[in-house]
C-alpha cells in the first residue's frame, strides 16, 4: 500500500514536472528577458524624456547655452558655462588629490601593512564610501568648510599666493572646499580598485624584482604599477564618473554662484548643484527647460565616461596580459 502510494506520487511528480517543462520554462525565461528589456528601456527613456523636455531651451538658446556664463532667470538669460566649468574643475581637483593618494593607500594596504591592520584599514576606507553624500555635505558646511577657511586656505595663500588660483580671501564655501570633499568621497572607490590591481600582480614578478635587490617602492613603481597601469586608468575613470555627478555634498559647500573665478577659494557652482538648488524654483517653461538641458548634459558626460571606461576595461581583460 505504502509502496504503491509512494510510486504513484513519484510518477505524478515527474508528470507534473514534464508538464511544467513546457508550461513554465519559457514564461520564466521571457519574464527574465523582459526585465532586461526594462533596463534598456530605462536608458532609452532617460534620453528621450530629457531631450523632449529640453527642446524649448535648445531651440531658443541654441549653442549659446553652452558658451555663455550669464545666468539670470529673471531676465530669461541662461548660460551653462559656469556650471559646466565648475563641474569640470571640482572634479579635476578631486582627482588630483584622490588618485595619487589612493595609489599610496593601495600600496600600504597590499604591500606594507600587516594583514590584520590592512583589513581593518580597508574596511574603514570602504565605509567612507557608504556614508550618504548629504552627511558629507552637512559636515562640509558646518565643520570642514570653516576648517578650510581657517587653516588650509590661508596656508595655501601665504606660500602659493603667487598662483592666481590661490589668491583672494579664504572662504568656507567655494570650489576648493567642494573639490577636497569630492576627493574624500572618490577616494574609497579608486583605492579599492587600485588595491585589486596591485593584488592581481603575479607574485613571481614581484619576487624576481625583490630578488634583484629592489626596495618595496621600486617594486611597486617599476613592476606593479607598470603591470597594472591599465587597471589604474580604469579606476581613474570610475572615480571621474563618480565625482562628476555628485550632488548633495557639492551643493552644500560650493557656494552656488553662477560665476567663473580664477581663484579656487571663491564660490562657484556645478551642474548638479544648480539643478538641486533651482529646479523647484523654475517658474517659466524656458527656465525649466534650460535646467533639464543641464541634466541632459550631465547625463551625456557621465554616460560617455562610463562607456569609455567600460570599453577600456573590457579591452584590458580581453587583450590584456596572461
Amino acid at each position: 500500500m505504502a509502496v504503491k502510494l509512494d510510486s504513484s506520487s513519484r510518477v505524478s511528480m515527474s508528470n507534473r514536472d514534464r508538464a511544467n517543462k513546457w508550461s513554465a520554462n519559457k514564461p520564466f525565461k521571457y519574464l527574465c528577458a523582459a526585465c532586461c528589456a526594462l533596463v534598456l528601456a530605462l536608458m532609452v527613456g532617460l534620453f528621450v524624456k530629457l531631450i523632449a523636455n529640453s527642446t524649448l531651451s535648445m531651440r531658443k538658446l541654441g549653442l549659446g547655452f553652452l558658451t555663455s556664463a550669464e545666468w539670470d532667470p529673471v531676465m530669461g538669460k541662461f548660460g551653462a558655462l559656469s556650471s559646466i566649468y565648475g563641474t569640470l574643475v571640482s572634479t579635476a581637483i578631486a582627482l588630483i588629490i584622490a588618485v595619487p593618494m589612493s595609489i599610496v593607500i593601495a600600496l600600504f594596504l597590499v604591500e606594507l601593512a600587516p594583514k590584520r591592520l590592512s583589513s581593518f584599514f580597508g574596511t574603514s576606507i570602504e565605509l567612507l564610501a557608504a556614508i550618504p553624500s548629504i552627511i558629507y555635505g552637512m559636515w562640509g558646511l558646518f565643520i570642514f568648510g570653516p576648517f578650510m577657511a581657517e587653516y588650509i586656505e590661508p596656508f595655501l595663500h601665504r606660500y602659493f599666493g603667487f598662483l592666481p588660483i590661490f589668491q583672494g580671501t579664504p572662504m568656507p564655501v567655494g570650489m576648493l572646499t567642494a573639490g577636497v570633499i569630492l576627493a574624500l568621497m572618490v577616494l574609497p572607490f579608486t583605492s579599492s580598485v587600485m588595491r585589486d590591481v596591485l593584488l592581481m600582480v603575479p607574485p613571481v614578478l614581484k619576487e624576481s624584482a625583490y630578488g634583484l635587490g629592489a626596495t618595496t617602492w621600486e617594486v611597486t613603481k617599476d613592476v606593479s604599477i607598470r603591470y597594472g597601469i591599465r587597471g589604474i586608468v580604469g579606476a581613474v575613470f570610475l572615480g571621474l564618473g563618480r565625482a562628476i555627478g555628485e550632488t548633495m555634498a557639492v551643493t552644500f559647500v560650493i557656494g552656488n554662484e553662477h560665476k567663473i573665478s580664477a581663484s579656487l577659494f571663491a564660490p562657484a557652482n556645478s551642474i548638479a548643484s544648480t539643478l538641486a538648488n533651482e529646479f523647484t524654483e523654475a517658474d517659466t517653461s524656458l527656465y525649466l527647460s534650460a535646467l533639464v538641458e543641464l541634466g541632459l548634459i550631465l547625463f551625456l558626460i557621465t554616460a560617455i565616461f562610463q562607456a569609455v571606461a567600460q570599453t577600456w576595461l573590457r579591452y584590458v581583460v580581453r587583450g590584456g596580459r596572461p
Binding site: 520564466f28 525565461k29 533596463v39 599610496v104 567612507l128 548633495m248 548638479a272
Partner: protein, 294 residues
C-alpha cells in the same frame, strides 16, 4: 635641476646609492601609512561630529512628534522617519524583483550573446548615472503628468537607482554558483526554472541578500532624486500621491535654513541615517564574510 632629472628617470634608480634608495623607500612607506591614516581620521572625524551633534538633538519627542515652527521648543521628525521608511520600502518592492530577474537572465540564460552584452553595458552606464539626473527624469515622467510632487514618484526614482545595482550583484552572485550544481539538478530531471529558483537561488542566497541590503543602504541615504519628486512635507503624510516627508530632504532644508534649532534637528536626522546605513553595510559585510569560507 639635478633633482628633477633624477625624479624623471625612474629606471636609473639602481644607480643610486643603497642608502638613498632605502631613504626614498622609507619616505614612501611613511607617506603611504599616513595617507591610510588620514582616510581613517577623516572617517572618524565625520562619525564623531555626526554622533556628538546628533545625540544632542535626539530625545523622545524627536521620534514622536511632528515638526514645530522654527524657534518653538520641542517638535520632532516622526513624519519624515515614517516617510523615508515607506518610500524606501516601496522602492525596494519595485526595484529588487525586477533587478533580480534581470540579473538571473544575464547569469543563467544570457552568458553570451549580443542582447545580454548590450544589457550589461547599458546597466553599467545606468549604475554610473548621477542620481540627480534620475530625479529630473522622474520629474518629467511622473511629476508633470500627475500634476504634482508625490511619494510614489520618489519611490520610482529610488527604484530606478536600485535596479541596475541589484541586476549586477545578482548576476555576480549567481555566477559564483558552481555549474556542477546546475548540472546535477538538470540531470535529476528538474526543469530549468526549477533548477534556477530552487538550486541556484538557494546556493547564492547569502550573496543575494547581501546585495539587496547594500542596494537598500545605498538608496536610503539618497537625497538628490527626492528633491523634486517627493519634495518634503511638514505634515503627517501617508498618501503616496501627495508630497511626503522624508529624512534626507528634511536634512537638506533644515541645514540650509538660518534657524539653529532646525540645524540641530538636521544633525539628529543625519545621525539616524548614518547609523542605519552603516548598520546595513556592516551586517551585509558580516554576512558576506560568513559565507566566504564555504
Amino acid at each position: 635641476m639635478a633633482e628633477i632629472r633624477c625624479a624623471r628617470r625612474p629606471t636609473v634608480s639602481a644607480r643610486r646609492s643603497i642608502r638613498g634608495r632605502k631613504a626614498i623607500n622609507g619616505i614612501v612607506t611613511i607617506t603611504a601609512g599616513s595617507a591610510a591614516l588620514l582616510g581613517l581620521v577623516m572617517l572618524l572625524w565625520i562619525l564623531y561630529v555626526v554622533l556628538r551633534k546628533g545625540l544632542a538633538a535626539i530625545n523622545w519627542s524627536f521620534f514622536t512628534s511632528l515638526p514645530s515652527p522654527p524657534g518653538e521648543a520641542g517638535g520632532g521628525i516622526v513624519n519624515a522617519l515614517v516617510g523615508t521608511l515607506i518610500i524606501t520600502a516601496v522602492a525596494t518592492a519595485m526595484g529588487v524583483p525586477v533587478g533580480m530577474l534581470a540579473g538571473t537572465y544575464l547569469a543563467e540564460f544570457g552568458r553570451e550573446g549580443r542582447f545580454a552584452d548590450l544589457v550589461r553595458f547599458v546597466n553599467n552606464i545606468l549604475i554610473g548615472a548621477p542620481s540627480i539626473v534620475v530625479g529630473v527624469f522622474v520629474y518629467t515622467l511622473l511629476v508633470v503628468p500627475m500634476g504634482g510632487f508625490s511619494g510614489i514618484a520618489g519611490a520610482v526614482a529610488l527604484a530606478i537607482i536600485m535596479l541596475p545595482v541589484v541586476t549586477r550583484t545578482t548576476e555576480d552572485m549567481l555566477k559564483l554558483v558552481p555549474d556542477s550544481l546546475r548540472e546535477s539538478a538538470l540531470a535529476l530531471g528538474a526543469p530549468e526554472y526549477k533548477m534556477i529558483t530552487q538550486v541556484a537561488f538557494r546556493a547564492a542566497k547569502g550573496g543575494l541578500i547581501t546585495g539587496v541590503m547594500l542596494a537598500v543602504a545605498r538608496v536610503s541615504g539618497e537625497t538628490a532624486p527626492l528633491l523634486f519628486t517627493t519634495l518634503n512635507s511638514p505634515y503627517w503624510s501617508l498618501a503616496l500621491d501627495k508630497p511626503m516627508a522624508n529624512l534626507t530632504v528634511t536634512i537638506f532644508n533644515y541645514a540650509m535654513s538660518p534657524y539653529s534649532d532646525w540645524q540641530e534637528k538636521a544633525w539628529g536626522a543625519s545621525l539616524l541615517i548614518t547609523t542605519a546605513v552603516l548598520a546595513l553595510n556592516l551586517t551585509a559585510r558580516f554576512l558576506a564574510r560568513e559565507r566566504r569560507p564555504r
